[in-house]
Amino acid sequence: MKYLFTNIIGSFVLDGKLKIVDSTLFKNVEEHKNKEKSEKQLKQKHKAEQLPNEKLHQALLLFKDKQYHQEFYKKNLQLTKQSIKESVNEDNLIVQAISNINELDKINNILTKRLREWYSLYLPELSEEIQSHEKYVELVATKTKEELMKEIGTKETMGADLDKPYVDEMILLAKQIINNYQLRKEHEKYLELIMKRYCPNLLELAGITIGAKLMELGKSLKHLAMLPASTIQLLGAEKALFRHIKTGSRSPKHGIIINHSIVQKAKRNEKGKAARMLADKLSICAKLDYFKGEFKAKEYKKELEENFR
């Protein structure tokens, strides 16, 4: 009885005592991928059978030998590099972009706080008047002190009179922050571009940020599609969930989807219900997108909006 065993090094014909009788060695990885051809040749030549599973262990022992080390190393490295190359897909791009948006938000907050402190030495009234970070930064960058005083309607200021070179540094910072806000907007456009093609349903129902964040927490669209709706409902609330399981505290109602407008708009006693229904539909959307289904998100969105008005 002769057996055939193929691995990355080559195809081998083993006899009844599992000694190598004949072999075709693969020169490169492609030959291993098209192994059927060489397997067929050897099978006909020796009338060999495919190795049964219970003898697999013994066959593997044959290759635990120093002479094969180099071959194993070379081919496996090549194959692994190929599969790493193939593993990159839209999921990775979305996760990277949304992570950078999160980081930009943090950075912008810190920098704008600093700018407010700094510029308030020069014109403290402006920071009191304007709450929105983005607007504040834009005003500082574009307008002079006199124009700004006119805008907020004060004639006197308790800010110090600083020379122009002293103020220029603050304006430079403001311009830098504006660039960051611009970059954030570009990132959102980029996400929309990818998600429109890759997961249109999820994009329509969840929006750019929440959709991308779900993708980040669920690791990939494939994984997200496999998750039950109840898990999607609690993505991002892991800490509260595990606290609930461990100590028996109250269970969380919503994770990241609390930022969604439908949950936000719902009445206080209906928030849990809204989160559950939204998660339900999001789960269906993820499945539709992963298995390339039709576009149904608009109906779902309408349905939810009517339910929670």
Partner: protein, 224 residues
């Protein structure tokens, strides 16, 4: 001057300061991969093996006397990750040895590829240890199976892999993370349960809880 570094009870491991620090002989002198401390003595370089980063080192620190790993061994390492532990195992087995490192995550295997380009005895394989048929054509049998995977069915994966790849008389090392099996139950109960499962198939020769180096982790060494 008296030599500071002595051989440890465990093969291929060296100790300093009465076993408070562990070292391995560096097979690539002058190169470190994870900013570890280096000691030079008698033209030999030793890399420090941190028990807080590696469960194998923690196991040895806890008093394990036989980890089973010897020079020139072939090792199947499931769950290599970035390759911190496996870089030391690569020191232990030496240039003649071989490590098949298996991990399903592309991100960490990417780091491992860079490591393996320097250390030629580490082979990175991007595959899921839960499905041995994915990589059965890419590996050989092994003297040691080392598993460090945080999955719910880690014991099942370990038994499956040991049955297929571990040679008779070879050692298997299983790092158990109790938190990924069940966070509600007491870790110790889980360890004992897994030990019982393994005892049905193999002989358990060592079992240690890795406190205080790793929380809620244990390691079991078996012999086939």
């Amino acid at each position: 001057m008296r030599s500071k570094i002595k051989a440890h009870k465990v093969f291929e491991i060296y100790e300093e300061d009465r076993g408070r620090r562990l070292f391995t002989k560096n097979i690539l002198p002058g190169k470190t991969h994870f900013d570890e401390r280096i000691i030079k003595e008698n033209n030999q370089e030793y890399r420090e093996f941190d028990p807080r980063r590696s469960k194998l080192a923690a196991m040895i620190m806890k008093g394990c006397t036989n980890a089973g790993i010897r020079k020139n061994d072939t090792i199947l390492y499931l769950g290599v990750s970035h390759g911190y532990t496996s870089s030391f195992v690569s020191d232990m087995v030496g240039e003649e040895g071989l490590i098949f490192g298996i991990d399903p995550a592309p991100r960490v295997v990417r780091d491992l590829v860079f490591l393996s380009e320097e250390r030629k005895n580490i082979i990175p394989i991007l595959a899921n240890a839960n499905h041995p048929e994915e990589y059965i054509e890419r590996v050989s049998a092994a003297d040691i199976v080392y598993q460090d995977i945080s999955q719910r069915n880690q014991a099942e994966i370990f038994i499956k892999n040991c049955k297929t790849f571990l040679k008779n008389g070879g050692y298997g090392l299983l790092a158990i993370k109790a938190k990924s099996i069940n966070i509600k139950r007491k870790p110790k109960d889980i360890f004992i349960e897994i030990r019982k499962i393994l005892e049905k198939e193999f002989t358990v020769i060592d079992y240690r809880i890795l406190e205080p180096f790793e929380k809620d982790h244990a390691m079991i060494i078996i012999k086939k």
